[in-house]
Symmetry: D3
Subunit: 235 residues, 6 copies
């Protein structure tokens, strides 16, 4: 099985980190193709970046046809709906993956993401997926995405503080980390706080494996009807 | 006052029709700049087209700085959030404009749009805006966007039939037309069915005029914080 | 165009202030008729006042037939539905006007109103309009309506403090002022806090102008069906 | 125990019928005072009538102080909130009474009311009470309120037909009759359709008895804070 | 009239206290049969206890056929749906009883229950009943159920503290006590805080009396269809 | 990896069918232990059966400690919350598994279950999980659970008819089969209707495998706190 793990920003070091996390969790027979667009924003922080990464993101999917499933490795799940019109293979966003998984191991979870500017986009997604009622609160740590790539930053301290507040104030039973760049912090944070801490990258990879094994494919009826051939030519 | 009325697809005849509708309704001192991207999909029908039109759409906004407000003239309101991060001038989507206006003249409205593939995107928007409870049903007439440009099509007949069903089955008190290309049908349909029929293009132009007069601007706090300068360079 | 701006309480100084605010924002050709009932409560603070002002409020509408639109200038939007059964001209409440406008320039807004006793009525309206999900919180400043008419009160200080809390605690991106009597504070508060502050009076006047230009009228089907002639005789 | 059963319209024959129904169901020690305002609309059908009956309705409450509880015997529950600010004795609307009772004997219920123009008001109430999710559908029988007073009308036939549709189409497990004037049809309809049919008048009387025995009173904090003495003088 | 007041746990002293509370409030002609299962958990604190008490609970109902109504005297309302399939006599849970009653005397209420582990179950019930929107917050006092049976515990102090926070922070207009074992604290807490404090046991008994007088029975259509005879044999 | 697939009813042929389906989809290293309680109802059809199977269901979990995850193979997800208090290993209900999976491959799905009496329980679950908004409708085929075990019944015909209606009337983009006993019909129905048809058994097995690989465990904070040792003794 081959899974395309698509980092929608252009920061190669982050793609590598995400790919490594995916490979650590993947089953024996699963090949992970980690990729990112060659042009577009170097980090996805808010609505504008979400929009600007889309053509590059969709081009990577079109250029990588021989995969069994696609992970969109941005916590905003940007481009998820559009990608599902391009292929009937499962396409899973890391945000939705973490929300669905958290909903099956906790009554309520809180999200700890990067910047305040990203919070409304996540809240919109939660409403749309129907899982807003399961999320106690979306919190921002005010850690910028690229600070997560800098070992000298105090990113960990700010994230763990915010998790502490989520447990105390929100009665959160689990924490969802709201950025693909936090994938390597999961175990340490979980041990420190004594509750499940979910990273969307590994959740999405595992869900893709499950979908492929179950031979589940995206519906072709309604909103995810295939893009007509002539529309593809305009890309 | 200058209002950019931005048709996100590349079909110039549709841009002209939309521009003409906007000018008919605009106040004396308002100049309408009707524009469309030079590349991208010729019609917006579903999630993929919504995504692919975004860079062109946002480029038109960046290339037209000296306006007082922006109308995004696609009923899916694609790019609305991203555009609001680019400028603090009011940016109004024709979908939201029609929904808000309809909510002030009717207890419940139904939407009649083009193809079934567009229905989920509209339903998502209604949920997000908070107005899903005011919408009795989103209906598709199975008229493609570009059929609306073809005088020989039976588009009118199919749309008016669907409105009849909305009144009879949904107890709709008003109808929102779910495509910018239907802007010239409003009066005839309203007269035929004896209820308000709303076109988002003219609603959005009027709302922009109102916002400019009220000196209301998009908030710079939270989700619509300005795009950092270095992010603009990657566009 | 003539717009009736109807203050439902009997305090003439407040009617004047509201009328002046309306005239400042009105378009060149718009005449503002500011009026209030001759009997009823001097301020609308809670459910009982809302009920007791209704016959006077509706009588003013019946006595002022030659207008193009009506603004109900009480933030509780009392009598809105009843008024819409009396005339098919647009009738806009200042509460709904501000909520709808705020929803198009901010992801979330908070309301700062007068007394705690008014909060549930506003929360009910927000639910009914469908916009509760867009409102972070309805806050009371514990400033009574008529204190707003007293230059010696510390009303401004208490309102600005409450806005500070809304930004810090609710993550509000915009503020809606929850009383017609606050109409003259908008600009100062907006400048002080660096975010949009909306007054319903001017929002409603602008929306009325927009509706009249768009020739939109209240639906006559369903809940706003015209009052039968014999029912009018009982008033 | 004395319960004021207040018919908000001025049709004395309806007040008598409602009073008789209340007395049939009341406990041994309960005295029913059936009353109606002396001026106002002869039937409550829609938003305008709801508003116009309020001063008369509230006056009856003020003129009848020595009661232990109040039933507002109009299915729209008009004036309920205002009345609760006038007295801390329990005030129960027949609409809410029936909805709450139905929620404890059925998973879902449908409402069968009089005219289509009354449907939105009932839907708003259901949302506000929080019980909209328990109501499968609000249906109108197109029987006018005063037709229920006319033995020669075919009101029963139209109501029973609508109940049949509610069972078949809505999967309703119980039926709430949406007008005080239907109080005498309950048993016959229940027997005919084999499911619980609830009349709000008797539900409300029984709930008042329960509240009085439990010494429960309307909260004086927040939205139902007592009307200040000087406000009562303006009535 | 005979009402079975069924304490689902096996602690006889609690059954006695509950029975005494029920008798104090019952009408003259009402006989209270207080009972508990002979095996099962001694207190219901969370999901596991809720499940384990069910066969015993349902057996008591089957062994007590000659009653007119049943109260399930556990605030989690465990077994409510199953019990309604066993008999068409009214079955009322003390949680739902208190929520419905509180909704008719306050705009919003908060719940003060025992342990944090019980909070999610109560939140699920509130959602299901449709009354989540009426509840400001479910709070835990961290008083274990059996501490309520111990006069030497500081249970009262912790509960009254939590009520203080509910009034200050949640803007609660009424308090619902979230455990049958708190039934004897109601009046003292209400007097101390100056707002209605509701105990589900007495609310449910009164609602049963009302239902019996109204001859209301649980619907036999849909979810509460009677258990087939052969299924009863497997119990 | 060992997964307990627990059929909560006592029908061994159904346990075998479910176990076989689980084994077909399980990964190479996964051992499926299919089991059912030795006493309790032979099929779960509605609230009473759900309650009566619980002690047996929970006993099987306690008697099978050396597994890595548990599937509750009843579409009502009965006992799910209680089981999560017994073990921190993942416990997945087949209903929730199918709903979550369907939400990632379709905008909206409909459920086709067995009897009308089971519909409210499924609707309650959907609300609780937060996924009610993703479900267009819960439909019953009026096929009893044990008819699915009878090759001579016309169960397939009735189920496929109901799916046809779901596509035509609900605009469902995917179908969830609402009974573990339908697990062998999935592929044929999917091929016949040209849309994804999901069986909860295989979805839940795959989700368990994913959770185990991700080392995700049920939260021990809040509602799923471990059952105290002394409580286990009462079972």
């Amino acid at each position: 099985m081959r899974i395309l793990v698509l980092n929608p920003n252009t920061t190669a070091s982050m793609t590598e980190k995400i790919g490594a996390a995916a490979r650590r969790i993947a089953s024996a027979g699963t090949e992970i193709i980690a990729a990112n667009p060659t042009s577009g924003p170097p980090s996805i922080e808010g609505f504008y970046d979400e929009a600007m990464c889309l053509p590059g993101l969709l081009q990577v999917i079109r250029d990588t046809p021989d995969v069994d499933a696609v992970v969109i490795a941005c916590f905003d799940d940007t481009g998820l709906d559009a990608a599902r019109c391009l292929t009937d293979k499962p396409v899973i966003g890391i945000g939705e993956a973490a929300y669905h998984m958290a909903s099956m191991i906790a009554n309520k979870f809180s999200v700890v993401t990067t910047l305040a500017r990203s919070v409304p986009a996540l809240e919109h997604n939660l409403h749309r997926y129907g899982l807003a009622a399961r999320c106690a609160r979306v919190r921002s740590s005010e850690v910028a995405v690229l600070e997560l790539e800098d070992p000298g930053s105090n990113a960990y301290a700010r994230i763990t503080d915010e998790i502490g507040r989520a447990v105390a104030e929100d009665r959160a039973e689990a924490i969802v980390l709201g950025c693909a760049g936090m994938t390597d912090l999961t175990e340490r944070l979980s041990a420190e706080h004594g509750l499940p801490v979910l990273d969307g990258v590994v959740c999405a990879v595992s869900l893709c494996e499950a979908m492929v094994r179950l031979r589940l494919r995206t519906s072709r009826l309604g909103g995810y009807a295939p893009v007509p051939r002539q529309k593809l030519a305009y890309a």
